[in-house]
């Protein structure tokens, strides 16, 4: 890990420790500090990524890992949207303590930056635990019974996963003697028989799969997303579950493809679990009545696409997985923040009671429609490109059945979302929607920015593709 990226980790931690002291008398100062820190970090990383000089040289002067830079960008962006939204959402709600809330978000941003910039399995484990601990407290911030129930289920079902990861690390120490990614790749490439190393990596993989919420380990996901405090479920679905689970799965699958034969079974199982998540998530989302729960199952389905592509293992598939991860972070942030706005403006998020919201809350409706179309994979938005890459990578790699099934479920998702948004946003106005009012413009700003990003990623896709190919795919080959 290069020392220059260490600053992205240290500064939010410093702010987290500073906030309780600075905001002792003036509560609103906590909001300002948190937002300013995240904005500064975001501008910094955007400067590295979007620098015209770098683009002209086709990113050959960036020596840091392109994957890590992209992840830091999306982490800071989502966290900034959440803190900005929260400063207006909390308002005068006396049940939520502002100061520990912002400190926890800052600590979790620091932990996530630690996760994506480290090159070592044990450091990864430590930061994943920090992220999990902050998530427990964030889910239960508003002290409702539902929040605590979601937090307890999250705790009880993901802590054994950490134990599996530890056992995997212990076996890795036995068979490989080291934890860093580079050394393990060198050990693999040197050609010794590597059955035991694959076993230890599979244990670690199992732990991270449980943490990311794939089927059949998805029991905690709908409850945690539904019961959490509203901006926090956007935070969880937008970035936390992905960084704490799916990121490590992608990193390990980048290593597994070097094994060629021995890891074939692991890759097969990974693809099967991904397909199962797509199927179960899509089918279960059809039966839900409550908006957040439906979005949670839709999250499970999209994470299935990422896991399926990661299991495939070819450079194009890993590219598709990473791009879909970034896209899905944007979609789900928009959708969950909008459901929080719906709660505030209309008072409920039950889909049976909402209808014809387009007149009452126009901005919320239109941004949700953009995000739903993007999730379903409609061109020219960004979701279309990432799903296309995944399906093409599956077809080229030989898993033709999986490609056809993935396409089929994408069509199912599209059909369902069309029906749903017609009913909620364009149908007959119900009692609840007559009384609803649009939320403040400041709360709509992060959602509009995310929608613009979704559209931009879709329209400027060739540039994105060249960035991904040059900084990630070309450097995967050892």
């Amino acid at each position: 890990m290069t020392t220059s990226l260490l600053a992205y980790l240290l500064i939010p931690l410093f702010t987290a420790i500073l906030i309780p002291f600075a905001a002792k008398t003036r509560r609103k100062l906590a909001d300002v500090l948190a937002n300013v820190t995240l904005l500064a970090g975001l501008l910094n990383i955007s400067f590295i990524l979007f620098n015209p000089a770098n683009i002209a040289l086709s990113f050959s002067n960036i020596t840091e890992d392109g994957f890590a830079l992209l992840m830091i960008f999306i982490i800071y962006l989502v966290a900034l949207c959440i803190t900005f939204f929260s400063s207006y959402f909390i308002g005068d709600d006396s049940k939520v303590n502002r100061v520990p809330y912002y400190s926890l978000i800052m600590t979790s941003v620091s932990a996530m930056c630690g996760i994506v910039t480290t090159g070592d399995f044990f450091t990864l484990y430590i930061f994943v635990e920090v992220l999990a601990v902050t998530s427990f407290a964030l889910i239960a911030s508003d002290e409702s019974g539902k929040g605590l129930e979601g937090a307890i289920k999250y705790f009880l079902l993901t802590f054994p996963a950490s134990l599996f990861i530890l056992f995997g690390i212990a076996f890795l120490m036995l068979t490989a003697g080291t934890f860093s990614f580079e050394s393990i790749k060198i050990i693999i490439a040197s050609g010794i028989p590597a059955g035991a190393v694959v076993f230890s990596l599979s244990l670690i993989l199992l732990g991270f799969l449980i943490k990311s919420g794939v089927v059949p380990f998805h029991a905690w996901t709908p409850d945690a997303y539904e019961g959490a405090y509203a901006p926090v479920s956007a935070y969880l679905a937008g970035i936390v579950t992905k960084i704490s689970g799916v990121y490590a799965v992608i990193k390990i699958s980048m290593m597994l493809r070097l094994f060629e034969i021995k890891a074939y079974h692991t890759a097969e199982i990974l693809m099967f679990l991904g397909m199962l998540s797509i199927a179960v998530g899509a089918l279960a989302a059809l039966r839900q009545k409550e908006l957040k729960r439906m979005l949670a199952f839709s999250s499970i389905s999209q994470i299935g696409y990422i896991i399926l592509a990661a299991g495939m293992g070819t450079p194009l598939a890993i590219l598709g997985a990473i791009f879909h991860l970034v896209n899905h972070a944007t979609f789900k942030t928009v959708l969950f923040l909008n459901s929080a706005s719906l709660e505030k403006g209309a008072g409920t998020s039950d889909m049976r009671k909402l209808g014809g919201m387009e007149h009452a809350m126009p901005w919320t409706s239109w941004t949700s429609i953009v995000a739903l179309l993007a999730t379903a994979g409609v061109p020219p938005l960004s979701g279309f490109w990432s799903k296309l890459i995944i399906i093409i990578a599956l077809w080229d790699g030989g898993a033709k059945t999986y490609a056809v099934l993935a396409l089929l479920f994408s069509v199912v998702t599209l059909a369902y979302f069309m029906v749903m948004q017609k009913k909620i946003f364009f149908g007959k106005p119900t009692e609840t929607s007559r009384n609803a009012r649009e939320v403040r413009p400041a709360m709509l700003a992060p959602v509009v920015v995310m929608c613009l990003l979704i559209a931009a990623l879709g329209v400027f896709f060739p540039y994105i593709y060249s960035y991904l190919v040059e900084t990630i795919a070309a450097r995967i080959i050892l």
């Binding site: 520990p100 926890l104 450091t123 036995l174």
Partner: protein, 162 residues
């Protein structure tokens, strides 16, 4: 049987007793006994620093946390009707698992030993923590900060009584 094996049998027996104990306070004390046993095992492995850490932190701090949590929920304890039959069936289940593991798990671990890769460096603990794994220290610091914020968020200082 060596001293080592006896210690491990002690730890396993204390763990089974902690599961089967009838009231929660006895369970917490048996957990402290598990920690003490694990600490003795660590001493026997020639790992004194880890053993002292485990003894002071786990057998001390975690036991205090558990006992205080038990005393906070003591009122409701009698109302939860546990199915005691499953707990009394535990020695039988453990016996079955012990016999099955003897025949299946032990040869597996013996074959796993052949893949062992011996480390060549004989560093001291200080070198390892401070030089080689310095980033883990940052992780520990952020973990402790996160713990403080979590407790601060769960139990705030309120002006009026809830």
């Amino acid at each position: 049987m060596t001293y080592h094996t006896l210690l491990l049998i002690l730890v396993a027996a204390a763990a089974v007793a902690a599961v089967m104990a009838r009231n929660l306070l006895l369970s917490a004390i048996m957990l402290a006994l598990v920690s003490v046993g694990a600490s003795l095992v660590l001493f026997d492995f020639q790992a004194p620093w880890a053993a002292v850490f485990e003894l002071s932190v786990c057998a001390g701090l975690i036991t205090v946390l558990f006992v205080s949590a038990v005393s906070l929920i003591r009122h409701e304890e009698s109302k939860v009707a546990e199915n005691r039959a499953r707990f009394y069936a535990m020695p039988l289940v453990m016996g079955i698992v012990a016999i099955a593991a003897w025949f299946y798990a032990v040869p597996y671990f013996e074959s796993l030993e052949n893949w062992a890769r011996l480390g060549g460096r004989a560093d001291t603990l200080g070198t390892v923590i401070w030089d080689i794994r310095r980033l883990d220290l940052l992780g520990q610091v952020s973990m402790l900060a996160a713990g403080v914020f979590v407790v601060n968020s769960m139990f705030p200082r309120r002006k009026k009584q809830k």
